[in-house]
Amino acid sequence: MLNSFVVAATDTVQQFAQATAGTGDSLFVTIMKGFSNLAVPIILFVVVVLGFFKKIKVYETFIDGAKEGFSVAVNIIPYLVAILVAIGMFRASGAMGFFIKILSPLTNLIGMPAETLPVALMRPLSGSGSLGIVTELMTKHGPDSFIGRLASTMFGSTETTFYVIAVYFGSVGIRKSRHAIASGLIGDLAGMLMAVFICHIVFG
């Protein structure tokens, strides 16, 4: 345990050094990367050592907690099947094209290139689907074009709302999600609009 922690920490320091020396990443990126790499090892170290000093039987307690992993994962299955099947069918049907036609006059008004509309529509539905669209756009227009930058920003600005709701609620058996989807989608809409706005300011 301690050994692997040391190895992980050394690795991170090396990556740190490489990152600062070579690529010209900004300081912010370097610091955040360092945090990301070290966060899990530090959490594990603190939890286990503190648990030991508090006279907890760490191994037994770990097993006790870990037991529930299986049931949580299995509980999610029906919820995830329901939502992913519906989203998969929706994508395969080509219905997205109609929505794009209907909405494109609106997006032109706010200075959002029509090409990026599919990203905005797909983002809450499917992570892999929207990443596919973003990749395609960047391949066609270049990652450093306005469209490429906007599409990347859109992808990075929210999570896959329907997936999160299905998995999180599914794990505890919540079927009536009340206003969760509405507030999630309102957040997504705000994220997409603000992505257009900030990209015009920063990259425009």
Binding site: V47, V48, P143, G148, E159, F169, I186, M194, I198
Partner: protein, 211 residues
């Protein structure tokens, strides 16, 4: 959810019939059912791991310390949860994992937090206000290094793959604030207030009612 699910199904089938994609639609259904199972089962290992660690953290008192540390914020976001309840500390860990882009840890921690929130829920199958706010934080989640899209940009030869970090952080912060505000405002609407499980009379503690 009922209407959204129904709409997705009906639209897909009708549009599929008109565009001649019906075969593809059916194939997608089968495909995605399998994907859903793969994703769920793929969570077992990492889920068990984090649940084990979190159990030690809980008994060691770390979760309680975290919960107390963010009392001012949690009192505002989750007024109905007791400030030193483990749900608060677990939610904080989930949010931090999201910020750091630790997808592998964020989901198990989030699900652990849902479990804690469910303990405070008087209903078996209806979301509480606290759950909706927590979900709003997660669906719009801020990530300081959106690694997936940065990797794609780098692969496609971007001069600066990281340049979208600031714009993405800005947009996702706005998205998060909007989603939480929307959740907070909507919970006051009469129809949504009526379905709040916290308004239910305290149910008798029965563990066997999991139909």
């Amino acid at each position: 959810m009922n209407y959204i699910w129904l709409a997705l199904m009906v639209i897909s089938l009708v549009v599929g019939a008109f565009t001649g994609n019906l075969g593809a639609v059916t194939a997608a259904a089968v495909d995605y059912a399998q994907t859903a199972v793969d994703i769920s089962l793929g969570l077992i290992g990492i889920m068990a791991f984090w649940l084990g660690i979190m159990k030690i953290a809980e008994e060691g008192g770390i979760i309680k310390i975290l919960s107390r540390a963010i009392r001012p914020i949690s009192k505002f976001l989750f007024p109905e949860i007791p400030p030193d309840h483990p749900a608060i500390g677990t939610m904080l860990m989930n949010i931090i994992a999201n910020w750091l882009g630790l997808g592998n840890a964020a989901t198990p921690l989030g699900l652990k937090a849902m479990k804690e929130l469910q303990k405070l829920n008087k209903s078996e199958d209806t979301a509480t206000n606290a759950m909706v706010v927590f979900l709003a934080l997660n669906t719009a989640s801020i990530t300081f290094i959106p690694m997936t899209v940065i990797a794609v940009r780098a692969k496609l030869g971007s001069a600066n793959p990281f340049e979208i970090i600031s714009t993405a952080v800005f947009a996702s912060t706005c998205a998060t604030i909007t989603a939480v505000t929307a959740a907070k405002l909507m919970q006051r609407l009469p129809g949504i207030r009526k379905s709040d499980p916290n308004r239910l009379p305290k149910t008798t503690e029965e563990g066997d009612n999991n139909a």
